[in-house]
Amino acid sequence: MIAILVSRLIQAVIVMLAVTAVAFAMFRFVGDPVQSMSREEATQQEKQELRERLGLDQPVAVQYVRFLGKVVSGDFGISFRNQRDVATLIAQKAPATMELVLVAVTLSLALGIPLGVLCALHPNGVLSRVIQGTSLIGISVPTFVTGVLLILIFAVTLRVLPSFGRGQTVDLGWWSTGFLTASGLKAMVLPSITLALYSLTLIMRLVRSEMIDILSTDYIRFARARGLPARYIHYRLALRNALMPVITVTGLQIGSLIAFAIVTETVFQWPGLGLLFIQAVVFVDIPVMTAYLLLVGATFVTINTIVDLLYAVVDPRLRVGA
């Protein structure tokens, strides 16, 4: 048990180091930081002084270590585009994305699991065939198409929901939340539906296939033969076992959702990390791109490690031999 924990942690650390190495390479070698940071008529001597000040004349390994040090202490440099401290920028935008992802995950679980159970229990029913059909469409429609469609229907034609932004937010210390205002809640609806759609269909299909698998196993057949109530069989036995992979997939999906938030935030102009990142790509703002990579990479590695560990804890079959 401890062996698994340790090995997973070591793995996580190695992956993080690799991600930081890529981030450092981007930061240092993509574009010329001295060129971008000196003024137009800078002389060679000024550039040399700037180079020394930034530590760019040191060996690469030393620079990498310094970079690591700065990252750990939260110094991500200054955004080329906004001339603001990147760490502050990210801290400002993070709550928006986190709230959006949270609502999307909740939606996809709250709708995906029941729908999946429904399809599994009545695999040949009309309703479940319809749901399955629409689920296929759900994973084939790109996120941005969904977003544009929803805006067209609800914001422009029906005028019931806002088409951009977060509405009014309330600051709770460092976190700014949109949950406490009516306009914030209304603004959350369309983006979260857009973001959740793909994840929802994924979970639905997963629950359906897992439950179908489990429902055909022996111990379910024995339970039925024993005359246990159908409800008990379906929910306490089958669904509980089917939920395990769902939880792991959801954990992994959170990472994917944070990434797809890039597209959703662009369509809805949601002021979160995704919009910040895509603007950084378009404007070639290397410090912000690097910081986003590090942050998101760290999030994924953490989530994946936790999911791995959870899996190992819950499923005794995995404990034997790492």
Binding site: S36, M37, S38, R39, E40, I78, S79, F80, R81, N82, Q83, R84, L89, Q92, V148, I151, A155, V156, R159, P162, S163, F164, G165, T266, V267, F268, Q269, P271, L275, L276, Q279, V282, F283, V284, D285
Partner: protein, 565 residues
Amino acid sequence: MFLWPALRVGALDRRGGLRPDRQKAPEKRHRLRPQRRRINRGRYTMRNSLLSTACVLCLVASPAFAEVLRWSSQGDIVTFDPYAHTESFTSSVLHHVYEPLVRRGLDLSIEPALATSWEAVEPARWRFTLREGVTFHNGNPLTADDVVASVERLLHPDARARGNLSTVTGIEKVDDMTVDFLLNGPYPLLLNDLSGVFIMDREWMEANDALTPGNITTGVTSYASTNANGTGPFSLESYAPDVGTILKTNPDWWDTAQHNLDGIEFRPITSDATRVAALLSGELDMIAPVPLQDIDRISASSDFKVIQEPALRLIFLGFNYRDELHAMPGQPNPLKDENVRKALWHAVDLDAIQSRIMRGKSRTVGILVAPPVTGYDANIDVPLAYDPALAQQMLADAGYPDGFSTKLDCPNDRYINDEQVCVAIKAMWERIGVTVDLNTESRSTYFPKVDKGETDIYMLGWATLPAMDGFSVLRAILATRDGSSGGNNANGLSDPRLDALNTAAAVEIDEPTRVDMLTEALKIARDKAYFLPIHQQPVAWAVRSGVDVPQFADEYVRLWFAKIE
């Protein structure tokens, strides 16, 4: 999520009633009520309702028509430091918070602002008298020290906007309300330049360590980048890049307010469609600019109106005058031949661009300035006719019967429909046999590329702001690039007659003579097809009905004239 049931269970005792520590509050209430139940309630209620009625009346009686104007544009304010940038949109918003010594009025003519009078005591020394009784938003009075500190900050070698006052060599305080500007020679356009120089508070800068100016290119920031203390009709309440800026009305403004706003909320929305959707759904009161394809739809609705006119900003294409084109290394540059450039001009169907892409809202032009700008002459404002057959013939005569290759670089988020215009022009040139390698990109990578001379044919927009004078085109674009001129002439254009005109017009005090020089320069630029003018960009804003905002050809938003009903 799983903690919630636990919390709820903990708060309830076994019978379902609230735990003892939660019962204290209801006990308090119970003590008061039984004693004076009926009477108290009655009085309480009546007093309450009287109060609320009074409040409502107050709200109605007060100038409750003052409201917050919410508006949006496609770009954001890049900084609140007036000397760290040269973007006209940012300047336009900063003008609500900061003010210059002279400003432009409703008819765009120059009028006194923070300075009440001026005179040239010597040809190279101008004396300005400052307005009395002006205070900054933090209460500090405006004095000559503030003006001196501001100008010195602008002239600092690190300031991005330093070029706006390139003829000023120094500034001296004469007394508490008078300053002297020292120039490097007689210069007729000092007032035009000063209309874009904002005055900051010296004590505030010293207290906040903001005496060194910022620079958006090198990334230097200061306290002044995100905070502001000016003399303008509005004060800065908050500035969050990419999210929004909130301005509040300044009740102590020295001028009489012609607006009735309580405040202004600005939000950048890059996507055109989203911006329009926000206006139509009532979340915004005004959008500037409005995408051209939505103008008809919005103006058809009685809840909104579109105001538009041609702007000062002129869009044109520039050429590469070096020995070789980037697209054809090792071969002589065909663009150095005047006939080749004219052929390219003849090949562009400017009317189609105007009617289809700009939907008839732009004005096709033949020279590099718009009618309100000094130096304009309608006689030379005639573009070359659309004649692709002639263009092909001219190319063949010039020695390129099979055409040649060139690059075309354009921004895709700076000018109205810039990308579309370039795609169309590429198609038109390919029809006469020229191979075009098109590259469109965001302005953050586009303009540095142009400045470094890495383009063959590029698109540029020029509004001559803040000077509003044709000399700006002559000095920055037409003159050969040396220390002080040709700042935007990155591709090697060099014409001796234009350089002579540049030097002469810089110091010509006799206005008619100076204007003739400007017109001659513009005529030469047209006759030799040094640039390919396309159109005068329209400025189109959409407002909710009930919002009254004047529009200006320099595209500046001046919301201190705005009224909401």
